[in-house]
């Protein structure tokens, strides 16, 4: 189908806009998730959002689709899970804390949805989502979230950079790492809540991890990392929707598979560069005339 034909169908146009906005949000957040080793926490929050959506959808606002109120309740629930993870991390290993919280919230969600006779079909819906069911409400929320995430990154850029390198050093340099950690978790919670209905729990986690991982393979500076991550995410979203439009593959999996294909290409190009080029150079790093691979002699201080 041509672009004109694609845009003639309102639901397809909404799917494209929602996919691109979600890709921008995930692309902007992904580098920090990867650099701070929060991939499992992001995945855990995505799963925990099922509990929140179940509470919001079934107990607060009965109906086929979540309303703004049920989204808000779901967001509060997921934020509570994030705070629970932060609290349990003081007593347990961090991965165990994530695991404990997310399986409990996930189980609660499945239990509520099943007990309300909505059947496992609904659980499958939140697991895999459907981009074609994106409504103006989700697009509006994604638009606001995109603006808010961009604003947060601009305001906290320097602190985030220091935090990704070393938490204790950043704290010593006056960066409020606790605020950054809580803030990032809140943004991830908002993203997974809005995205769950569109691409599903499983795939939003992938979108929060894959673009940043690709950026880490290709970029040598923080801003190029974020640009690469966002670009890859948006490219994968557009390509995934196009592939989905031409085949029977649902849009969510198609988007993630496109991003995974880019990751494979990035890995291969990095390996080729190591084998045949400068082993320390990255594709998106600034070129330095002759950086030595190692420093054989300790340089003289002036």
């Amino acid at each position: 189908m041509s672009l004109e034909g694609f845009m003639e169908y309102g639901f397809l146009a909404r799917a494209l806009v929602a996919g691109v906005l979600l890709a921008i949000v995930c692309g902007l957040l992904s580098p920090w998730v990867v650099l701070r080793r929060l991939s499992f926490a992001a995945d855990g929050l995505a799963h925990a959002s099922i509990g929140g959506l179940a509470v919001g959808l079934v107990l607060v606002q009965p109906g086929a689709s979540p309303s703004l109120l049920s989204y808000f309740v779901a967001y509060l629930f997921t934020c509570l899970v994030a705070l629970g993870i932060a609290h349990l991390t003081r007593h347990l290993q961090s991965d165990a804390a994530v695991g404990v919280c997310y399986v409990s919230a996930f189980a609660l969600g499945v239990a509520i949805l099943s007990s309300r006779n909505r059947g496992m079909g609904h659980v499958e819906h939140v697991l895999f989502g459907s981009l074609l069911t994106a409504r103006p409400l989700e697009i509006l929320m994604l638009g606001i979230l995109t603006g808010f995430v961009t604003l947060c990154l601009v305001l906290d850029w320097e602190g985030l950079g220091a935090w990704t390198f070393d938490e204790e050093l950043a704290r010593a340099e006056g960066v409020s790492t606790h605020r950054l950690r809580i803030g990032l978790m809140m943004l991830i919670a908002a993203t997974v809540i809005v995205a769950t209905r569109i691409v599903g729990v499983l795939l939003v986690a992938a979108l929060l991890i894959l673009p940043g991982s690709i950026g880490c393979l290709l970029a040598g500076r923080l801003w190029t990392l974020v640009v690469v991550s966002t670009g890859v995410s948006v490219g994968a979203a557009v390509a995934g929707i196009a592939v989905s439009n031409q085949s029977d593959i649902p849009p969510g999996p198609a988007i993630v598979l496109c991003a995974f294909a880019v990751l494979l290409v990035a890995l291969a190009s990095t390996r080729l560069l190591r084998r045949f080029g400068n082993p320390t150079r990255r594709l998106c790093a600034p070129h330095h005339p002759s950086p030595p691979p190692s420093c054989p002699k300790t340089p003289e201080y002036p």
């Binding site: 010593a172 500076r221 300790t298």
Partner: protein, 255 residues
């Protein structure tokens, strides 16, 4: 910058509890501007905790730690940690890691990007890493990483530098050059507080020494330090150590 020889740090009856345990108690000392203070003591003696308390990362009661303001603004403190918890696949270049240290001070207008880069280049040259600027940070050797972290601390134009065992794992020549650079910084008026286990190195370079083991066992001029005081702080006999190091021979193996 503080006026040379004025008191820049005053620690009064500092007590630190962590996890219900008393790590430090009754610590009293002062440090003057441009002074090179060496902190020695056994493992678990609270040296790193003291540095963290001085940085404000570990809570201390009000009035126990007083940094004197310099030229009408809060004292800027640079910190070089013992090691960084950086992932081996951390992708950013040495220059990018250095520039991360240029966080806003909050005591003046933010510095422009161009000026920051110029200063970063100058500092890279000063620590001898200008040719490694484009390499990923994790590709640098341990000694190069410490020097880069020193440059990162200097990017904040600090009044005081706190260094936690920066010469551990660095070869003798590297240690010597590192300490020479610290002495240069002291001459420029930057106060240096260095934690180290290398007694010959620290006694030959530092102006004053503080022996710490949960509490301050001794604090005085480096030349007044003798094996009795060290034995008292370490609570054991240090047979390989003698205080009579010839001037400027810190690179030699301890006898």
């Amino acid at each position: 910058m503080h006026r040379h020889d004025c008191i820049v740090l005053k620690v009064t009856d500092l007590t630190v509890h962590l996890g219900g345990r008393e790590i430090l108690s009754g610590i009293d000392f002062t440090v003057r501007s441009g002074e090179f203070l060496g902190l020695i003591g056994p493992n678990g003696g609270g040296k790193t905790t003291l540095l963290r308390a001085l940085l404000g990362v570990v809570p201390a009661a009000p009035g126990q730690i007083t940094w004197s303001p310099g030229e009408g603004r809060p004292t800027r403190i640079g910190y070089v940690p013992q090691r960084t918890a950086t992932d081996p696949t951390y992708p950013l270049s040495a220059r990018a890691v250095l520039l991360q240290g240029a966080t806003r001070h909050g005591d003046g207008p933010p510095e422009g990007r161009h000026a920051q880069r110029e200063r970063a280049n100058t500092l890279m040259e000063r620590v001898g890493l200008h040719r490694q600027a484009g390499l990923p940070f994790v590709h640098l050797s341990g000694g190069q990483q410490r020097r880069l972290l020193l440059a990162r601390a200097l990017l904040r134009t600090p009044d005081a530098l706190l260094l936690d065992e920066p010469t551990t794992g660095v070869d003798v020549e590297g240690q010597e050059q590192f300490c020479a650079l610290l002495q240069q910084l002291g001459a420029e008026g930057i106060t240096v507080i260095l934690v180290s286990h290398d007694l010959p190195l620290i006694t030959s370079r530092a102006d004053r020494i503080a022996c710490l083991n949960r509490t301050l066992h001794w604090h005085g001029r480096a030349k007044d330090l003798d094996p009795t005081k060290i034995r008292h702080a370490y609570a054991c006999e240090l047979r390989r150590y003698e205080i009579s190091q010839p001037e400027g021979s810190c690179a030699e193996e301890p006898r």
